[in-house]
Symmetry: C4
Subunit: 124 residues, 4 copies
């Protein structure tokens, strides 16, 4: 067991998801779920996407290798098929503790803008 | 009872509220209180708005259905009638645990800017 | 005792303070320490400012009335006299629990940018 | 022992690191790991950098003097040699409790953008 085996939490929530419809310049508007797995084990994630007016899409599988980060674009989340311009939210459950941070790049208007936050951890 | 029944907290605080007076381009300056309810029950919220120089407006009711997110614009918070260009703060109390994130879009100057943070949880 | 008597924490830290040297357009580059006091009592704050290469300026007094927010600009923090263009950090200690969020507006280049985060609470 | 001896945590994680490839105007795109040490003792940090597809670079040493802040640019992290345009993540371990906040300035397009978050604390 390495020293970092239990760093983070196993369940994380992010209420403010939104992929802007428009982009300008060289950068596409997008969001990313960024994961850090400092342990010596593979983290098996199940990502669920919640909406305002329809059923959630649950348990999309993603793997983060030991001692690696992964920055997962939400517009490439397989069967989630999150539409642009629609409010959504994300829940990540991991087989082992990890840390999650979510960021948005918005290039709707003639320059880009960023926002980020560490997600809210709910289960050790 | 589903696995996610107690995810989050019942009381959340956000000190930095401010709806910019000006907008430019296609996007209006605004703020949103984003809620995620991963439980199988309806969350009944009571939102209170605090100011620098007058009494708070308390207990505006909002409902978030089971397994849904809602992104609530603060300029559409009914009787709160938050003026633009004035510092305010928000307290959200929920009947069941939820997670709250607050974001601002500012288009005062010729491009947009975003900021966001998970709110501060105070009561499990 | 009102229901909200102990919401937040009494000590908060913010490592990334920086007041940009330049501004453009109608908005001045600045930072704000935003406080929410949901209690029925006055909160007496003592704000300390830390630098990279000199002694901290400690215990600047600020009062936040009961059930009020205050958005305190750091360029108006009395004897702190924080220079523009210099890294600093902030510690806030309060007589009763409050919540602190810090935000920066940067208008150095031809549009504005915002960033924000809830501060890190250290003492209940 | 001063009153602030144990403020913060000894291990912090930041999943979303990314130094943009392009810059424009007077400000260079960059990221900073901002540290606040409110104690009367020197904090000896060991910073590790994680990537998506190769081994981490571990234990780069940085010192933060007593009662000081340091804003450490990640493009100046010695042997880490973080490439621009590549996702990475950061782990900071400190000899004594400190607080960590990470911020990005992105000037890829014709205005600057900022984002920030308090890092995620894992070990008291």
């Amino acid at each position: 067991m390495s020293r970092e085996m239990n760093e983070g939490a196993r369940v994380w929530l992010v209420p403010d998801g939104f992929i802007p419809e428009e982009s300008s310049g060289s950068q596409e508007s997008h969001e990313a779920v960024c994961v850090l797995n400092t342990s010596g084990e593979e983290a098996r994630l199940r990502i669920s996407v919640y909406f305002e007016d329809r059923e959630p899409v649950k348990d999309i599988g993603v793997v983060v290798p030991p001692e690696r980060t992964r920055h997962i674009r939400t517009d490439q989340l397989g069967r989630a098929e999150i539409p642009r311009g629609v409010p959504y939210a994300i829940r990540v459950e991991s087989s082992i503790p990890v840390v999650i941070q979510c960021s948005r790049m918005d290039t709707t208007q003639a320059a880009l803008s960023l926002m980020t936050t560490i997600a809210h951890p709910v289960r050790p």
